[in-house]
């Protein structure tokens, strides 16, 4: 079957997975101007930006003859949970026979998960599938690891553009891998490539670090967020993104009572400021902001699609949180009409701000981050007990969710 998927994060991983399972892959293009125009034209006007971009991608894939589009689901009140159904409807109305298939949280409905998985397995037996999964997981994990490193060292490159070019090479190298051993070999080679690129030497105390939080799609797809990471890197700022596919899978597959991955603890650490998850990643992002402050980061860039509800909730809390943690936070709301110059000017000013703060060292960062976080919670005015009480008295499954 001709299979496709949204362009998000480490697409090489999805591509190899589908190929190994014996499907023909219709590779989605990097979202371009045309993708966004198509998406904006055929999506409901007030839907979030990621939906529009994905609609565009799906239409492009359908044009190329994709029969099945595999996507992940969402849960909670965020609109992401309805994406697949609405996408399906849009494609149908345009006359495409493409089917949109969704992987929902397997702990909620295991039988549905097995059903979708079986279809994708395409007759491959369970042991072979496990082998393929292990290979793909290793691939994605290693590529994500390299990408994390890239976003740190690219800040110090001597000739602008060296690392981005090298990264393109590395991605195509990984596309040719076949086994876990290949992956490891390529990983080593990639590290060598990184090491061979000339970099400036920077002292430890002169390094400027910025964390990126926000809605998962816009922070993972550089073409959608106007290359925020590359712009920051070109200003000599190290970037750490909080979302990677391998981390997302671990967060969703590994049970919460286990000590790893870190994201579970991060999720919980925001309890005071965000007692409940409003859908999307708002609670998690608040936890990451807290985590960045603990690790002494210089600032946080918050990216959100225009009118994204969960991130709007965070947007309202950030001024107080940023003040208490003594860490600047800049929010950028993205949509299809935004120009790159607009993002660049703000990021440039933001990097000037955090740099002057870093080098002046007038105010040592507050001694106890946990205390400041608690103060922030008080300022935001979240009445933790009250929210929890309300949650207990409200029905476990609201009517609209019960089928």
């Amino acid at each position: 079957m001709k299979v496709s998927f949204p362009h998000m994060g480490c697409v090489t991983g999805y591509k190899r997975l589908m190929e190994k399972l014996g499907h023909e892959v219709i590779m989605p293009e990097r979202p371009s101007q045309r993708t966004m125009e198509l998406g904006a034209k055929y999506s409901p006007e007030f839907i979030c930006f990621p939906f529009k971009v994905m609609t565009g991608t799906y239409i492009e894939c359908a044009e190329k003859g994709a029969q099945l589009i595999v996507s992940s689901g969402g849960n909670g009140p965020c609109r992401a949970g309805m994406y697949p159904d609405v996408h399906q409807k849009v494609l149908q109305e345009l006359g495409y026979k493409t089917e949109v298939m969704v992987f929902d949280n397997m702990f909620k409905d295991f039988s549905a998960f097995v059903k979708t998985a079986k279809r994708l397995m395409n007759g491959t037996n369970i042991f072979k599938t496990a082998g393929i999964a292990a290979y793909v997981y290793a691939l994605v994990k290693k590529m994500d690891k390299l990408e994390k490193r890239l976003k740190i060292i690219r800040a110090y490159e001597v000739n602008q553009g060296d690392f981005s070019k090298a990264w393109k090479n590395i991605v195509s190298m990984f596309e040719k891998t076949n086994t876990i051993r290949d992956v490891n070999r390529t990983y080593k080679k990639a590290l060598e490539i990184f090491d061979s690129i000339p970099c400036r030497e920077v002292k430890e105390q002169e390094r400027i670090r910025v964390g990126i939080v926000g809605e998962i799609y816009v922070i993972m797809e550089p073409t959608v967020n106007k290359n925020v990471e590359e712009i920051l890197n070109s200003l000599g700022v190290e970037v750490e993104n909080v979302q990677y596919i391998s981390d997302w899978v671990e967060h969703n597959v590994i049970p919460k009572w286990l000590p790893f991955p870190k994201s579970h603890r991060v999720f919980k650490s925001s309890d005071k400021v965000s007692p409940i998850n409003c859908g999307g990643h708002d609670k998690e992002n608040m936890g990451w902001v807290f985590d960045f402050a603990k690790r002494g980061f210089d600032g946080v860039v918050h990216l959100m699609p225009f009118a994204c509800l969960p991130e709007l909730v965070n947007l309202g809390k950030f001024p107080a949180v940023s003040k208490e943690l003594n860490m600047p936070i800049i929010s950028l709301s993205l949509d299809e009409q935004m120009g790159e110059a607009h993002v660049k000017t703000r990021l440039e000013a933001f990097s000037d701000l955090i740099k002057s703060k870093h080098f002046s060292k007038q105010q040592p960062t507050s001694g106890n981050v946990a205390d400041s976080f608690e103060n922030a919670a008080r300022k935001v005015g979240t009445k933790v007990d009250k929210v929890k009480e309300n949650l207990q008295t409200s029905p476990a499954k609201p009517e609209y969710q019960a089928k």
Binding site: N159, Q160, S164, K344, A349, K357
Partner: protein, 330 residues
């Protein structure tokens, strides 16, 4: 005499200033660009040369800022290309070291900058809306048939308050027409507009920020006394308008250029000379067909067919094909 130059290329105006080593502004000019930023840079530089009578060797460094900073930076050979926020804050801190809040309203954008102990601690720029900027006032002044220069003074003569919806230019306009038809005077409506603009500005930019005096108000719109009055009413404090309020960005970039050159002990600035400005620069654009992005790539070509700068490509295909690519960015 030796000079540092600052150029601010905004959406509506192009400002050129010259500053000596002791931060004295020797020349300043505010030019309405009328959509011809490159032409007005040339015009400003020629006037500058005539006014202070300097030669190429007298220029120690140049800084550019504003939305056209990159293009102008290539044109004149700038040493520092900086964003507007840093430039404005630098200039304000020079003239008013104790400033804590800067209101800046320009033609297409408006910003608020919060300072503490001589450092920018927070800032905001308007996002998607033109209400609350100079263009809004320009447009309404034209509609009412009042020259923009007298707009503010007229507002001060108003006796009554009229509330005009300032959330959006479109709403404001229809509200304004309605109020006209109720029989309010021009002065009252103009006053209402000034208040609406300030209300919108504060709502959009100052969200959840604590505004502390001293307040500084700069940018082209600061010439408007009506807006200044509206700001004073809103914050309940005196609002200071700096002497060079309309060229603060340019002054800031000159100061940044000076700091940069002195810090790095640069002896020969990038300045290309006044003669170079006489030459023709051709900004051309073409659509790249490399992928489905169809980027509009802008290329600046000098008269001897040398590519001076290229930008607009999303993939970095043209990076490094021009002279400017190595210097800009960092």
């Amino acid at each position: 005499m030796k000079y540092y130059l600052g150029i601010d290329i905004g959406s509506v105006s192009t400002n050129v200033i010259a500053m000596d080593k002791d931060y004295n502004v020797c020349f300043n000019q505010y030019i309405r660009a009328n959509g011809q930023p490159l032409e007005s840079v040339k015009k400003g530089m020629t006037k500058l040369k005539e006014a202070i009578g300097c030669s190429d060797d007298d220029i120690l460094g140049i800084g550019t800022t504003g939305s056209g900073r990159e293009l102008a930076g290539v044109l004149v050979g700038a040493d520092v290309i900086k964003n507007e926020i840093t430039a404005h804050a630098t200039a304000t801190l020079h003239f008013h070291p104790d400033a804590s809040t800067i209101f800046e309203i320009g033609g297409q954008d408006s910003k608020i900058i919060i300072l503490q102990d001589g450092m920018v601690t927070d800032f905001a720029m308007n996002t998607v809306c033109a209400a609350g900027t100079g263009s809004f006032l320009d447009h309404q002044a034209e509609r009412l048939g009042v020259p923009i220069e007298h707009f503010g003074e007229l507002a001060l003569t108003a006796e009554k308050d009229v509330r005009i919806a300032g959330r959006c230019t479109v709403f404001a306009e229809s509200d304004m027409i309605a109020k006209q038809q109720y029989g309010f005077s021009k002065a009252e409506i103009i006053k209402g507009l000034c208040t609406a603009l300030v209300r919108n500005y504060i709502n959009n930019l100052a969200r959840a920020k604590k505004l502390k005096p001293p307040f500084i108000f700069q940018g082209g719109v600061a010439a408007n006394v009506g807006i200044r009055k509206a700001f004073e009413d809103e914050v309940g404090e005196k609002v200071i308008i700096p002497k060079y309020f309309n060229v603060m960005g340019a002054i800031g970039s000159a100061i940044l250029a000076k700091e940069y050159i002195e810090e790095n002990n640069i002896e020969k600035p990038n300045f290309k000379g006044f003669e170079q400005l006489e030459l023709e620069f051709k900004p051309t654009s073409f659509e790249c067909n490399g992928c489905s992005n169809m980027c509009e790539v802008i290329r600046v070509i000098s008269s001897d067919n040398e590519v001076l700068a290229v930008w607009g490509d999303k993939c970095g295909k043209y990076a490094g094909t021009s002279k400017a690519s190595q210097t800009s960015g960092r």
